[in-house]
Structure formats: structure tokens, C-alpha cells
């Protein structure tokens, strides 16, 4: 495999860009693998990559029902941040952010990670106090975070609505400067290429339809491309975790599938250098500008359970109203596209990376709104769990019995109602 380097870009540039190789193979499935990961999204691909890279495992396959990165990997707003406060989440997301910081070098693939700062607008003294607590917690646990007064915010983000008549007057902001955005497809492709180089078979158009079990273990996965034997199996199919869980012979998970929309406008000249988040009362809105100039933004879930990858109209209106509340200059900009992804909404808004009642089955699920930013650490710790058959202390409570034990990791304090953990 040709490495990406300044020299090679130059060399192949002179040769009319001919001579680059395929970025990954398209192998036929073998009869059996040591580890089979179901789901070639960011989490599944990262897991396979780290299984090979960190733990030296060979003979790994990633099965994907469509093409790799065809699910939520391509249906997000590409925001990366680690402004989590709860023990359990704090260390995990911080580790993810640290992995992001070196990911392009690590994978030899430009994931276009841009640490452009994540700015949460504050609209009340109470919000400011809560932000001070959260961001101080972050600083005390090895991350970065700061509070900006109004003047600093105006200097850095001049286009927000600071007028006297603003519907939601802004009084300041909570800022994580190391946060930012990345190119979502490049992350999937980068992990796929790195995993493939380490010998992982990425098998696309291979849908799992059932499992064969014996003595409390999965023996093989029945797929649209035949039966594939597996010594260990990992599920990483957020959005459809419950369906796969049923195929493994189980009934229920602390998860509901909801859909989350996102939007992009026509391209504009550079106007917003950061990720800006607006949340007050019922409003919820986050926006950044892509490298192509489109304004990428999103808001709340569609508010009812659904497996359909298509969004409803009232949310488009909600999100447009939010946009107008803080960035009225967007008023005449046209929407180019909008899309919807199906997400696992869990009962406390936190994920699961854990063992299951079957000896050789491991679960990675329940990513709520946070799957994109989490993907490097999710793969890192899921690989560690599968290789060592025990959870790393950092993910000790990302398991299915935390509710029974009363150790919910409820960042929002919203209670056991999945749709409220946005």
C-alpha cells in the first residue's frame, strides 16, 4: 500500500495521479475468523483496526450490510468535543479527543480534524454557573475549558445576534478550544484503510440474518454471503442494536431507536470559524461551517421512535427558528440537503461497551448523540475488551446492568426516557 506523504503526492501528481492503489481490498469471506465485528461504521472499523494494531490479533473480519460508512458515519454533524462531566464519561471522551488529535498521523490518512473550538452560548446566570461547574470539572481532570464574557465572544464570533431586541440575549459562552470538527467519511475510510493494511477483511454487502449458538456461545453468523464462523463476535451497529440483539437470542435492551436530522446549506464564503451551540429552554441547535462552505447544523430528535432514515418537517421548522434566533444573517440562505440517521437512544444518554450473557459476544451500542466524537475511543476500548475479555476500568460502568445497580451515567439528569437525552 502506498503511503500518503508529501513526496508521493508530488510524485503521483506529476504522473497524472495514476499509480495509486485501491485503499482496501474486497475479500471473499473466509469460513471462520478469530474475531468478527458486525457493522463497518466508525466504531466497528476503529475496533478492528485497534484489535490488529494494539493487540496484535490476526484473522479479523468486519461485516457490513451495505457499504462501509453507509450508516450514521455519514449522517452526523461531525462535531468532536469532550465537554462531559460525569465520572465514566469524562475520562472516556477526553481519551477520544486525545486520539483525534493524532488520528491523521496515526492512520496516515487526513481526517481533516480541525480544532476550531466548540462554543456553547450562555443565556442566563444559572446557565453560566452550571457551565462554570462543568468546565472547571474538565480543567481539573486534564482537559481544557474556559468561560468567555460577552466582549470576548463578540470579538471571536461577530455574526451572532447581540442586538437589544434579541429573543434570547447572549451573556457569554463556555468554550472548549481543543474541540472542533473532522471529515466524517475520511474517518471511516482512514480506519478501513488502516485495518485492511493490518490484514482485516472488510466484507461489504454482507447482512447478518441470524446467529447459530451452542453452549452459551455464538458459533457462527448466518449472513447474506453464507455462514461465517467466529470465535469472538462484537456488535457495533448503533441504530439497529436491538434487532441484532434479537438475532443473538435476547429480548430487550435499555435502548430505543430514534432518528436525528441534520442539514447543510448552499456554500457560503467563510463566516463562522467555530462550532457554535445554542440551547435554552426547548431550543437545541448546533452549527459549524464545512470546508466546502456549507453551513452544517442540527437540532433535536424527531421526538418519536423510528427506524426510518428520513426526517419529519416540524423539526426542520424548529431548527430553522433556532438558526434565526442566533444567526439571523442566515435568513435568506437556502438549504441544500437534509438527512436523518437512526441512533440508539439509551436510558441515561450514555453508551454500552460490555460483555453480554453469551461468553463470546461483546456489545458496543447506545451512542445517542455522541457516536461520532466517541468513535476512536469506542474502538480503542471495545478492542481492549474483546482481546482481554474484561472491561478496562475507564469503561467499567458502560455495561447493561448499571441501571439495576443504580449507577446511571445521566449527563443531562433527564431520567429514564431515551428521547430526552439529546
Amino acid at each position: 500500500m502506498t503511503r500518503f506523504s508529501a513526496w508521493n503526492v508530488f510524485k503521483y501528481g506529476l504522473a497524472g495521479q495514476m499509480g495509486w492503489q485501491r485503499q482496501w481490498r474486497d475479500p471473499e469471506p473466509k469460513p471462520e475468523y478469530d474475531v468478527v465485528i458486525v457493522g463497518a461504521g466508525l466504531h466497528g472499523l476503529a475496533t478492528a483496526c485497534y484489535l490488529a494494531k494494539n493487540h496484535g490479533l490476526k484473522n479479523i473480519a468486519v461485516l457490513e450490510k451495505g457499504w462501509l460508512g453507509s450508516g450514521n458515519a455519514g449522517r452526523n454533524t461531525t462535531i468532536v468535543r469532550s465537554n462531559y462531566m460525569m465520572p465514566g464519561n469524562r475520562e472516556f471522551y477526553e481519551h477520544a479527543l486525545k486520539l483525534w488529535e493524532n488520528l491523521s498521523h496515526d492512520l496516515n490518512y487526513n481526517v481533516m480534524f480541525s480544532q476550531r473550538a466548540h462554543i456553547s452560548l450562555l443565556h442566563s446566570p444559572a446557565a453560566k454557573d452550571a457551565a462554570a461547574r462543568r468546565y472547571n470539572t474538565m480543567r481539573l481532570t486534564g482537559s481544557d475549558g474556559e468561560l468567555w464574557d460577552l466582549e470576548t465572544l463578540k470579538r471571536n464570533v461577530p455574526l451572532l445576534d447581540y442586538s437589544q431586541g434579541a429573543r434570547f440575549p447572549i451573556i457569554g459562552a463556555a468554550v472548549q478550544k481543543r474541540a472542533g470538527t473532522a471529515r466524517h467519511d475520511a474517518v471511516a475510510w482512514g480506519y478501513a484503510r488502516a485495518a485492511d493494511q493490518l490484514g482485516v477483511d472488510i466484507i461489504q454487502n454482507c447482512e447478518v440474518t441470524s446467529t447459530t449458538r451452542k453452549n452459551g456461545q455464538i458459533v457462527s453468523l448466518e449472513t447474506s454471503r453464507g455462514s461465517i464462523g467466529a470465535k469472538k463476535v462484537g456488535f457495533a451497529v448503533s441504530g439497529n442494536s436491538s434487532r441484532l440483539w434479537n438475532m443473538a437470542g435476547f429480548q430487550t435492551l435499555p435502548i430505543e431507536s430514534h432518528k436525528l436530522q441534520a442539514f447543510v446549506t448552499e456554500p457560503l464564503k467563510p463566516m463562522l470559524d467555530q462550532v457554535v451551540v445554542f440551547g435554552v429552554g426547548g431550543a437545541h441547535f448546533y452549527i459549524s461551517q464545512s470546508n466546502k462552505g456549507g453551513m452544517v447544523f442540527g437540532g433535536d430528535l424527531d421526538w418519536y421512535k423510528s427506524y426510518a432514515q428520513r426526517g419529519n418537517l416540524p423539526i426542520i421548522q424548529d431548527v430553522a427558528e433556532c438558526a434565526m434566533s442566533i444567526l439571523p444573517c442566515l435568513g435568506r440562505v437556502r438549504l441544500l440537503r437534509h438527512w436523518s440517521g437512526v441512533v440508539d437512544m439509551s436510558m441515561d444518554g450514555s453508551p454500552f461497551i460490555c460483555k453480554t450473557p453469551l461468553d463470546n459476544l461483546y456489545l458496543n451500542a447506545g451512542w445517542n448523540y455522541g457516536g461520532f466524537k466517541a468513535s476512536p475511543a469506542s474502538g480503542w476500548y471495545f478492542a481492549d475488551l474483546i482481546a482481554n475479555d474484561r472491561p478496562h476500568p475507564i469503561i467499567a460502568n458502560y455495561n447493561l446492568n448499571r441501571f439495576e445497580r443504580g449507577v446511571n451515567i445521566d449527563e443531562r439528569g433527564a431520567g429514564p426516557d431515551p428521547k430526552l437525552h439529546g
Binding site: 429480548q251 430487550t252 423510528s306 426510518a308 418537517l313
Partner: protein
């Protein structure tokens, strides 16, 4: 936009309603073992297909309804009042 035929108000946009959640949950008695409560509060079948779910007609009659809806196609098969007394009263009318 989903259109939900409210048995009291007629067919309305879903934006008038508030989604409750899984309508098939049976809450155990208060003194039931913790495991049963854990099942009812936290565990979900998360069906892809037809399921019963609760909606409240918040910006209408404010009644809670049981809606039978497909979570993939969004087709609504049936709607009835969640309160059994109300359901009976409606039946008596016709």
C-alpha cells in the same frame, strides 16, 4: 408529518401531540422485586415494525392515547384512548 386520528378531535398533525413511549409496558405492583421494576422502567423491546405506543394530544383534548404505529413505515393502524373508561364511553356513543 404524521397524521394521527384522535378519537376525540379527529385527524390532526403529529405536532399537536407529544410522544410518550412504549405503550406495551405493564408496571408491576409497588412491592414487586427490583428486577421486575428494572424490566419495566429500563428495558425495551425496541420493535422495528408495528408497536403500541402512547401519545398525548397536548395541543388538543389533552387526552392520552394508545397508537398502533409501524416504526419503519410510520403507518398508523389504530388509535384508542389510553384510559379504559374513556374507551368504553366512546364505544357507548356509537
Amino acid at each position: 408529518m404524521l397524521r394521527i386520528p384522535c378519537p376525540f378531535c379527529g385527524e390532526r398533525d403529529h405536532s399537536e401531540f407529544s410522544y410518550g413511549g412504549d405503550g406495551s409496558i405493564k408496571y408491576p405492583p409497588l412491592d414487586a422485586p427490583i428486577g421486575e421494576w428494572h424490566e419495566a422502567v429500563f428495558q425495551r423491546k425496541n420493535i422495528r415494525g408495528m408497536q403500541f405506543e402512547t401519545w398525548q394530544h397536548l395541543n388538543g383534548c389533552r387526552m392520552w392515547l394508545i397508537v398502533e404505529r409501524d416504526t419503519m413505515s410510520h403507518e398508523i393502524r389504530s388509535v384508542r384512548p389510553a384510559h379504559p373508561g374513556m374507551a368504553k364511553a366512546l364505544e357507548g356513543e356509537t
